[in-house]
Symmetry: C2
Subunit: 567 residues, 2 copies
């Protein structure tokens, strides 16, 4: 066959999530797109608002591929910007609101943002960051303009004190509703820029293409089996991988976005009761919050919950299902456009015991459909490990859902993709049924007496102790075994007088091979975490280095920073 | 932002449905992929068999982009070829088994096929076609090799009488299980070639790209909300748009293919009872078959049915739902990689009456997600019609799910895409809620039992009858087949006493595939024509609507308008 056939405008169009909004306005015009407090929007209104905002962005000088930053919680404006900024040709940079001024400043600096949108609540943080950047927020400059997002709990909500600023609602109102989105000539063009939280080094700017965002969105909808018309609660920050792509995904599904400013138990329960929430995503810690406040649950609910991060423990899964929360476990990274693996439930598992089902559910699962290939490779030989559920290797992935690269960091980009794979840095196994389970971070492997110990495995056991709330296990130096596990944990408040180091160690001895039992247990008030909620194991490892083992010293000497008995 | 960022092997991979099979072998290895009679395969086995077959295809000389044709019903071999042929780098051409030898010959000729795979049941048809092509099926030639597919109701099934032929199972057995699929360097490369009976007598070869097939597959799974692990009954021929992409889709979903040689009521009911079928696609005529034989239904079932072609009537919908068949209506064309619209159900319609729900369901619906844009345009002004459910225009679509073009027909390809849109040739309206409804057809295509029939092709045959002076063929409504061809003709004056309806029908039976034969022939003194001499097919269609079919009434009762023996 002569392979040459021209591409036409009619049969070769750029893959872009902008399509989802346009289609939603066509097919779901009068369905509710966004709920926020008392405010309601339809898909037609959301499309119109985005067109208006996009035209205003162009009037403000946003040219193709220029960066627009935003510092905001899960409010309608942040949702709209996920479409309006690329419709204007720009690149959306959502900033983690938990960063400090220095972190925000670094991002504004590195991203070369032309406009910064700031939710009114984050004005002090933004001003401090701008001060560090030597930008006067009240004076329009070519360097960086500032737009304030007022409290839009009603459609016409404006911030009284922002007269001196450009104001979000004003840009929307003044914009041209007939504005046509900038045509995406190349689907490889950038759509968003997201900085990963640095546990180790300085943050890297992860760039998604329109193509990657489109494919990532559809793949996760498919992987989670999200049907049409979901009522989606924004319990996960939109600034996390663009809300794991559900910013775009809810438009693709013609669903309703329930926006909430803060993810609290009462807001979650209230939203479920008022709006019939069907889907939500969150970190495991939110499950605990939901569970602790379950007295607030007044009606029968059925909510699908997609959970990232560490696998939810069995008891938690069981209790959540009793309440009507059905948890699916996903695994991903910013670099993989959110989720790369989803623990797809298999019907034949229905017959298993609670314990067995929880064990199966706690695995990270199978690749979503935009992952072209997935493997677990021995870190030394780079050979695929057998599907035995035991042999560990690094999880590597490949596919059009992976980021374009790190912004202005060719070296890191080349390194990340050097071998034809993206290296996740996570150590896992492949079970005989093809499901992947993460066992450790590459850096978190504890090697004791020549044996590899998975810190995750130790954590899982300790977590099952009834008095434990949070736990992190890292390697600590050991004069005899090279390394040994050291457990840092937070106990449930009311109980913190009753649990001792020996209790935990005994518990581990009863539930783990002896070589895996931590030789040291430290009690903290909270675990050190990054702004995105990830436990800073590097910090804990540094702490562990300074702890003297009780075996070798009867008196526990904590490093100077942690002198109190309960840390 | 500097837009330049290199593409890497890890983050820019060709979109191709081959991924779905590889992933199924990884993630669903021991789940049942195919059921056929007593035979069972797992996804690992199917992947292995496809690899073996692909390696054998290469050994037979199939090079990149060469065409492999197949004439077979819905058997495992045809399913496997949907992966094995592209894995070998080839292009799959599935031939409609209802064609006559001349039709098959034309396709083999035009497609330049290098190998023809023939199911044993279709050997006589294939041999006749090959005779017309001057190819000796029992002698290997460089022109065209023939491979016989034996009765593989068991995994090792072979055809006793085929010793002189290459045999399908032998190719599988002899192949290399470690064969690696040919790397798709460009997702725009062709994957399949399917001939449509369009408006002209010579069929056009519709070419899909790997990209289009990948996107079409995912979009229809999403549009139909097909969950994971479907048990899919092959009631729709795989040769129709590659089974509306579900050949690839069932692999993507890790489902089970229930293959059946013939779509009969007893096979449908047996498959549902034995294998727990959850999904099936079909033409509306199959719904009638199911309904007529409903006494065969012994258990409670719940089957999702995707129906193409004419909208199912209200009563049929109600009765089918009572039996447990939930019908969703889709609209598409070969050129659109199967479905372009799906009548997505909206929850708020649940509360409506049966009648209202049937009315809503009978519409063609909203675009699937690979359609970048959709519109209904006035055929003269090319302006969009209002969303009033009344004003008609031509349905036009655009997106990466549209075919690459017509094979070796640049003129028809350019015409199809001329205005930046693909013209469906169907006339429709947009309802205020954004749902599209087809009202009429611009092109002279008759859709009978899900098969496209070119009225021009039927006319050409009838015109060759020695007594015929003028002929026009149009669609007439048919209670079973949706539509059937109705021929209006003018005979040569001297002979008009001697030619009967039966003569013409018999003549057609001898010169056309049976499904194309008109069920009604009307004799006119002249054909209604425009001032420029063009036959007014619209007028004839209106006439045909009022004609009662002889099949359903022993006495042919012509409507009053047509009382004379010769009209």
């Amino acid at each position: 066959m002569n392979t040459y056939m021209s591409k036409f405008e009619a049969n070769y169009t750029a893959l872009t999530p902008i399509t989802f909004l346009k289609r939603a306005a066509m097919s779901y015009a009068d369905r509710t797109s966004i709920i926020y407090g008392e405010a309601r929007f339809t898909w037609q209104e959301t499309y119109d608002r985005c067109r208006r905002l996009a035209s205003s962005l162009q009037s403000l000088g946003i040219a193709k591929n220029e960066v627009v930053s935003v510092l905001a919680p899960n409010i309608p404006a942040l949702y709209e910007m996920h479409f309006a900024v690329p419709m204007a040709g720009g690149v959306l940079n959502t900033i983690n609101t938990m960063l400090d001024a220095n972190g925000v400043k670094s991002i504004l600096d590195h991203s070369e943002a032309k406009i910064l949108f700031v939710d009114y609540e984050y004005i002090p943080l933004a001003y401090e960051a701008l001060r560090l950047l030597n930008v006067d927020p009240k004076r329009s400059t070519t360097k960086l303009s500032v737009v304030i997002i007022g409290d839009s709990t009603n459609k016409n909500g404006k911030l009284e004190s922002s007269k001196k600023h450009l104001e979000y609602e004003e840009l929307v109102v003044k914009g041209n509703v007939d504005f046509m989105a900038v045509k995406i000539e190349d689907e490889w063009d950038p759509i968003t820029l997201s900085y990963t939280s640095g546990t180790t080094s300085s943050p890297k700017g992860v760039v998604y293409s329109h193509r990657g965002a489109f494919l990532g969105t559809l793949s996760l909808i498919l992987g989670w089996e999200m049907g049409t018309q979901p009522v989606y609660l924004w319990s996960l920050p939109m600034f996390h991988c663009n809300g794991w792509t559900f910013t775009w995904g809810i438009a693709a599904r013609g669903g309703t976005n329930v926006c909430i400013r803060n993810t609290t138990a009462s807001m979650i329960y209230k939203s479920i009761a008022l709006h019939g929430v069907t889907h939500m995503c969150c970190a495991p810690v939110v499950l605990n919050i939901i569970l602790e406040e379950r007295k607030q649950l007044t009606t029968q609910v059925q909510v699908q919950v997609l959970v990232g991060g560490s696998p939810p423990p069995e008891k938690l899964l069981i209790k959540m299902e009793e309440l009507g929360f059905y948890i699916v476990h996903a695994y991903g990274l910013t670099e993989a456009t959110g989720a790369a693996l989803v623990c797809e439930w298999q019907k034949r598992w229905d017959k298993h015991s609670h314990e067995e089902r929880a064990r199966l559910k706690a695995r990270q699962g199978i690749s979503v459909l935009n992952i072209e290939d997935l493997d677990v490779k021995d870190t030394v030989t780079m050979q695929s490990v057998p599907k035995d559920g035991k042999t560990t290797g690094e999880i590597v992935i490949r596919g059009s859902g992976i980021m374009k690269g790190y912004f202005k960091n060719e070296k890191a980009t080349s390194e990340a993709f050097a071998s034809g794979w993206f290296h996740t840095g996570d150590v896992g196994v492949i079970h005989p049924d093809g499901y992947i389970q993460v066992k450790d971070r590459l850096k978190d492997v504890i090697i004791s007496g020549g044996e590899n110990i998975s810190s995750v495995q130790v954590e899982e056991v300790i977590y099952q102790h009834p008095e434990v709330l949070q736990v992190a296990v890292v390697a600590m130096p050991h004069p005899r075994w090279g390394e040994t596990p050291c457990a840092f944990l937070v106990v449930k408040t009311a109980k913190h007088h009753t649990v001792t180091e020996n209790d935990i160690i005994t518990y581990c001895r009863n539930n783990l091979p002896h070589y895996m039992v931590p030789k040291k247990v430290c009690f903290l008030m909270d675990l050190p975490k990054t702004s995105t909620g990830k436990v800073q194991k590097g910090t804990l490892r540094a702490m562990a280095k300074n702890i003297q083992l009780p075996d070798f010293n009867n008196h526990l000497q904590m490093p100077p920073k942690f002198t109190s008995s309960r840390l």
